[in-house]
């Protein structure tokens, strides 16, 4: 084993995994999101909540490298040196999106290859990175399917034959197989019925904890935010109106809009 000493790792001051400053994106005259700044630490789960149209999906897409922002900077410290993800070449950005971070889309069809088997979907990142042993790829795929609670004998089935909840879990496996440091999730439980949601949330909670993942989760569902996230950012009309520890924000909201959001939640 190669024992290299990285001065950075020895530093007493750890650095955030992701540093965002002044991020803005516009659609013509309309504001998508504006002036967003925050830090995300390794292993931390950040929630972004707000109504539809609040700008949270726009923000997520800018953070995840999908849409280029009009202003601001996203610095990723997943490797030896911090990377401004929008000033590196597209090739590098694409590579990072396949290895160091992952995106779980709201609609699993956007994040899966519907015509490729479950095993192929999970194995793709491995094959992207040069894996060439069929048996070992398949073993790893089986291992991950088990971790997301998909039965082994479904490995050769295509996602079209899966239920919505299973498709979502497959998407998670596909993203996690490359052991990313950061995962973005856009409404991960959207469109699923309540019992399925609960199961998925449990799974996510366990995985995030076991793998020490950092995650940014966009959701309009405060219950999801409460269960999964450590910190919360509340968005309205493209701006962050409040942020803080999740429990604090939800139990003791300061901003009027946050108060509105939390009071509107039906308590079960």
């Amino acid at each position: 084993m190669n024992m290299q000493v990285n001065p950075q790792e020895l530093s007493l001051e750890p650095s955030p995994l992701l540093s965002v400053s002044g991020l803005s994106r516009f659609y013509g005259e309309r504001i998508g999101c504006t002036g967003v700044s925050f830090d995300l630490w390794p292993g931390e789960v950040l929630g972004i909540v707000g109504e539809s149209g609040s700008g949270k999906s726009t923000l997520l897409r800018c953070l995840a490298g999908i849409d280029r922002p009009d202003e601001g900077e996203v610095l990723f410290r997943g490797g030896p040196a911090p990377l401004d993800i929008y000033s590196v070449a597209e090739q590098e950005r694409r590579r990072l999106m396949r290895t160091a971070w992952g995106i779980v889309h709201q609609n699993p069809r956007d994040g899966l290859r519907m015509d490729v088997s479950a095993g192929g979907n999970v194995g793709e990142r491995l094959m992207d990175n040069g894996a060439r042993h069929y048996g070992r790829i398949r073993e790893k795929a089986l291992d991950w399917l088990a971790r997301v609670e998909i039965a082994e004998n479904r490995i050769d089935d295509r996602p079209r034959q899966f239920s919505g909840g299973m498709q979502q879990r497959l998407q998670i496996a596909r993203v996690l197989v490359s052991e990313p440091k950061l995962v973005f999730m856009d409404e991960p439980t959207g469109g699923l019925d309540v019992s399925v949601q609960a199961r998925l949330l449990d799974l996510l909670r366990v995985l995030v904890r076991d793998l020490g993942l950092a995650a940014i989760i966009v959701t309009h569902d405060l219950a999801v935010a409460r269960l999964l996230t450590d910190r919360l950012m509340v968005m309205k009309d493209g701006r962050v109106v409040e942020q803080g520890l999740t429990d604090q924000v939800l139990d003791d909201p300061h901003h009027a809009y946050t108060q509105l959001l939390t009071s509107a939640v039906l308590s079960v």
Partner: protein, 309 residues
């Protein structure tokens, strides 16, 4: 009177340049060929010209041959391995007419071999040039329909998706089910479509002493494999690439290691297998090799009276 009508007395036939294409166009094609040879397996876009033969019928190969052929060359043209298929005949006649080309059916004597869908059985030698007719130059096309995207995938060697396709085959059928146009990795860098040759022929491209040129007229791409270049068929470590084999040898010449065509003899399911490479088969028969069906074949007029002493 328009430009193409000649005054009375002159013949109406316009004069074409040697090998049909004008010199400017040939220069353009040669520049593309040089670039292709310099970057083995990389698809070079070129200004493919409208030709008097239809797209899909070999215009890419024809343009490559037209750009390189000279009076000292000997041209062999094959289709499905045979010199006498109608389109091979048509293309050979084209070069006879427009370049006064010297033609041959003997593989060893040819300096340029233009081919559709086969590599000859006889090993090629240094100084020979293979020109392949290519319908779809993009090996990733079935996985990704957009040109703008596949270009990026090649530029950044993002070939995982290709491997996924092979994985899918093995998961579903236990083996890779691509039998022709089997994708290869050239010089360890570019994934290339070798044209619809059967996978049986893929090993012949590896470290060949000949120069291999590929022309796709309709898709407007040229690519090349220089002599002595590594050409490796894609596979998995534990599912290595395999070529086809037959249960019986050639019915006419007895060859056990050539690619065989299936010929239906009667309507009771009778069939025989015959070398696809017609010149190879003929050469073997002339050397005395006899296949089991040779007598029958003569009776069926499949060959001229060779069985008779």
């Amino acid at each position: 009177m328009n430009a193409h009508q000649k005054p009375a007395g002159e013949t109406a036939r316009p004069a074409y340049n040697y090998a049909y294409l004008d010199e400017q166009t040939k220069r353009m094609i040669r520049r593309a060929l040089l670039k292709a040879v310099a970057i083995p397996g990389y698809q070079v876009p070129f200004g493919s010209r409208e030709m008097p033969l239809a797209r899909g019928w070999g215009t890419g190969g024809i343009q490559v041959t037209a750009a390189i052929i000279g009076p000292d060359d000997r041209l062999k043209v094959i289709d499905q391995g045979a010199d006498d298929t109608t389109n091979a005949v048509s293309i050979r006649r084209f070069f006879e007419r427009t370049a006064d080309a010297r033609t041959t059916e003997a593989t060893e004597e040819a300096t340029i071999i233009q081919t559709r869908h086969r590599i000859p059985e006889a090993p090629l030698k240094a100084g020979q040039i293979m020109v392949y007719q290519v319908p779809q130059p993009e090996p990733l096309r079935k996985l990704e329909p957009h040109e703008a995207e596949t270009r990026k995938m090649h530029a950044w060697a993002e070939y995982g998706l290709m491997q996924v396709k092979l994985y899918e085959n093995i998961a579903r059928f236990g083996e890779v089910t691509t039998t022709y146009d089997y994708p290869v990795m050239v010089n360890g860098r570019y994934v290339m479509a070798p044209s619809p040759i059967p996978k049986f022929d893929n090993p012949k491209m590896q470290m060949s002493p000949a120069l291999q040129l590929f022309g796709a007229g309709r898709e407007k791409r040229i690519y090349a494999v220089p002599p002595h270049t590594s050409v490796r068929s894609l596979d998995f470590e534990d599912h290595p690439f395999r070529i086809q084999s037959w249960a019986e040898p050639c019915g006419l010449c007895g060859a056990k290691d050539s690619y065989l065509d299936e010929v239906v003899i009667d309507d009771q399911g009778g069939r025989m297998f015959v070398c696809s490479d017609s010149h190879h088969c003929e050469t073997r028969r002339e050397a005395g090799h006899r296949g089991a069906m040779l007598a029958d074949a003569s009776a069926l007029h499949l060959v001229e009276d060779e069985a008779k002493p």
